[in-house]
């Protein structure tokens, strides 16, 4: 095309041709052979809490020609969420953006720049109207007309509003886009708000975290690709598969919490022993995320803060991260009655059994009966003297 863009409408046929032979074409599978690719997709299915059979479905969807177009807008963000996504290894970024989704616009990764990039975005929005996925990372400033974040002469607020109109789905990535994150922390000088405050006419999936776990995002996207719909969400728009439980619930240090073994200061005996970090201000008991089961990124499960010896600071939880003091105590939300606590008024002790009531009643009955018999015999003696008199 005149501006250097190639025509997107040609692409699908090429994809179908390319994907005809899964085994021979390595690029489509991100450098993986077929076996490893299926293993990866099964892993994704497991992350989503689905049966392994869904791995096949995800694999099919991930390699299908219909790659969903994605428009990605970055606002008041540190790019940490994108950076962590860049470091995800399964799939690698190029697999994601070249083979699984069709990334139309993302400032960090755009090949073109300036008008070229902006035109491409405008085209994509027009061409895939109602079909593309809008990803927002970063908070949206609203104060003073939203002038504190502008791209290509438009305030970020306008860009989001425009892109959201034709979006099939909106994903807010990171705590900033999910609930405001750092930019919204007091005194919130730019009036930063999360994406859902701007996009009100359609559901906004939120993947909070600072940065958010790349696999929570990837799993959500692949769920969308595989099933054509979003995963089950909680009342804050978070996928339940990732944010359904408190970090505290599956924390590797949880037994220490239950046993009352707490690190009291950094480097003390308890800290060196790997005891619970609650007293150091760990926010795991009030933060919903899957760090304690998944770890963070690809370093492994020992890579998340608590494993490294630092208390969770609740980065993904509104009202906790960037709001509470780091060493302030969490208010524990594990309360799940009546599974864990004896109630004040629970039923206890041995009440009357059929046998014991029968025996007791029998005894009382026998006493009354004997009394009656004696009384009746006495009745006769009562009468006797009178007769005699």
């Amino acid at each position: 095309m005149a501006d250097g863009h190639f025509d997107l409408s040609d692409e699908p046929s090429t994809d179908i041709e390319r994907l005809g032979d899964l085994d021979s074409y390595e690029g489509a599978l991100g450098g993986l052979n077929r076996r490893d690719f299926l293993k990866y997709c099964t892993g994704i299915a497991a992350t989503l809490g689905l049966s392994p059979a869904f791995g096949i479905k995800i694999a099919e969807a991930a390699t299908s020609a219909m790659r969903p177009p994605v428009v990605w807008l970055s606002g008041q963000a540190c790019t940490g969420c994108v950076e962590s996504l860049l470091r995800a290894q399964h799939p690698t970024l190029e697999t994601l953006i070249l083979d699984q989704i069709s990334l139309e616009y993302l400032e960090t990764l755009n090949i073109g720049a300036g008008h070229q990039a902006e035109n491409w975005k405008a085209n994509a929005i027009k061409q895939f109207y109602g079909k593309y996925v809008l990803v927002v990372d970063g908070a949206i400033p609203t104060k003073d007309g939203g002038i504190y974040c502008k791209v290509a002469g438009h305030t970020f607020k306008e860009s989001v509003e425009e892109a959201a109109k034709g979006a099939a789905a909106v994903i807010a990535l990171g705590s900033c886009a999910s609930w405001g994150g750092i930019p919204s922390a007091g005194p919130n000088p730019t009036g930063a708000v999360p994406a859902k405050d701007i996009v009100k006419d359609k559901p906004v999936v939120t993947i909070p975290g600072c940065p958010s776990s790349p696999y929570n995002f990837l799993s959500t996207v692949l769920h969308f690709i595989a099933f054509g719909k979003l995963p089950a969400l909680d009342d804050k728009g978070r996928p339940k598969f990732a944010y359904g439980r408190l970090i505290h619930e599956n924390c590797e240090r949880r037994p220490h919490f239950d046993a009352g073994r707490f690190a009291v200061e950094f480097g003390d005996n308890g800290h060196r022993q790997g005891w619970c970090l609650y007293k150091l201000g760990c926010k795991g008991p009030e933060t919903y995320n899957n760090c304690s089961t998944l770890g963070f990124g690809d370093v492994g499960e020992s890579s998340w803060p608590v494993a490294a010896g630092h208390p969770c600071f609740g980065c993904s939880e509104k009202g906790v991260g960037f709001t509470k003091g780091i060493h302030q105590l969490a208010s524990v939300q594990t309360y799940a009655p009546p599974a864990a606590f004896p109630t004040v008024d629970g039923d206890k002790g041995a009440g009357a059994s059929t046998g014991s009531v029968a025996v007791a009643a029998g005894l009382v009955g026998a006493a009354v009966g004997a009394g009656a018999v004696v009384a009746s015999r006495l009745g006769k003696t009562d009468a006797a003297p009178k007769d005699g008199e």
Partner: protein, 379 residues
């Protein structure tokens, strides 16, 4: 002047054998209690530390045993010699009541091998109502034994010892009146410290007075019931006239008891609880009825000549006294921890039945072989 004589006759009657069998069953479960702990047999639990073993075997059992106390009070202190024929059988009932209550205490004590600590002056806590009850009951059991000793001495023809004992007997008689006065009232005082753990229907500072009056009433009632039952069982003439005379004293005492009971509730403002419609209110009304009915039965002068009315009144009064004690100690008891239940287990009940059956066994043995019952005057 009257004499006592053994009833004689065959010992192994059906009643005796049934009682013996029940006592054996009780003994079996008592053995289980000593090997497996209290929880293995009884349903008492963390909220109900005292079950029927305390309430019925001890608190009710010793009240039965007040027969001797009541009669001794009348005969020796109020100097009503005409009741003298009732003394020995009443003392026997008392001896059994207290002796077996003592046995029940040993079974119920969680650390029975320490029971002698009660008698160690350096461990004594003079603030403890329990200590007073324990010491008094132990002392009174001893006194009862001495008081009953003449029957043994007569049986074995030890007239000399009998004479010596007689010279000092009045001291024991006096102690035998003082001790029950102390501990029967204290059985009521025991509940005072429970405060709000006893329902306002029973918790009052008058508990000692009420329990003492109730003990005397039960003692008299037991004398009447025992006398009539013994007459029927051993085909002896009824002692109706002498029993009838007792009812005059009993009526006054009973009227006083009922009046104090009701007035106390009214003045404390606790009478409303009687209309709560719950188990406690129901039990309260049954208890009150069992005290008012005998009063109504005993009041007409004619009733005193009818053994049937006498028996009915005494029986009802006995039941009322039993219920008053069960109510105060168990039904009116409200544990601090909410949600706990207690009802005696079958084994627990059988132990209590066993102990009372053992009492029947001993009674048969004693009255048939020892000079306990008065020699029938026209025999």
């Amino acid at each position: 002047m009257h004499q006592h004589e053994p009833v004689g006759g065959k010992l192994l009657t059906p009643t005796f054998l049934v009682a013996l069998a029940l006592a054996a069953v009780g003994a079996f479960f008592i053995a289980e209690r000593f090997t497996g702990g209290l929880g293995a047999v009884a349903n008492i639990n963390d909220a109900y530390p005292w079950g029927i073993w305390v309430t019925i075997d001890v608190v009710v059992g010793t009240a039965f045993g007040c027969a001797g106390y009541a009669i001794a009070l009348v005969v020796y202190i109020l100097n009503k010699g005409e009741y003298h024929p009732l003394v020995r059988p009443a003392l026997l009932a008392s001896l059994f009541g207290y002796g077996l209550a003592g046995l029940a205490v040993l079974i119920d004590l969680g650390r029975y091998w320490h029971f002698y600590h009660m008698f160690m002056p350096w461990l004594a806590n003079t603030n403890s109502v329990m200590l007073e009850v324990g010491l008094c009951v132990a002392a009174y059991t001893g006194v009862l034994f001495v008081e009953f000793l003449p029957a043994f001495l007569e049986k074995f023809g030890l007239r000399c010892a009998r004479k010596t004992l007689n010279k000092a007997l009045f001291i024991f008689i006096a102690a035998g009146v003082l001790l029950p006065t102390m501990h029967q009232s204290s059985l009521g005082s025991m509940l005072v410290i429970l405060g709000q753990k006893v329902s306002p229907l029973w918790q009052t500072q008058f508990l000692p007075v009420l329990f003492l009056a109730s003990a005397l009433l039960m003692g008299f009632a037991f004398v009447i019931v025992e006398s009539i039952l013994a007459s029927l069982a051993f085909n002896r003439p009824l002692e109706t006239p002498i029993l009838g005379k007792l009812t005059g004293l009993m009526s006054v005492l009973l009227a006083g008891f009922v009046a104090l009971r009701v007035l106390d509730l009214v003045f404390r403002g606790a009478f409303g609880h009687a209309f709560a419609g719950d188990l406690r209110a129901t039990m309260f009304w049954i208890e009150l009825a069992l005290h008012v009915l005998p009063l109504v039965l005993m009041l007409p002068a004619g009733s005193r000549r009818s053994p049937r009315t006498l028996f009915a009144a005494a029986g009802l009064l006995l039941a009322g006294g039993i219920l008053y004690r069960i109510n105060a100690y168990l039904v009116g008891y409200e544990p601090v921890s909410i949600g706990w239940h207690y009802f005696p287990s079958v084994k627990e009940i059988l132990v209590t039945v066993g102990i009372f059956s053992f009492e029947v066994v001993l009674y048969h043995l004693f009255v048939k072989r020892l000079p306990v019952l008065p020699k029938p005057e026209h025999a």
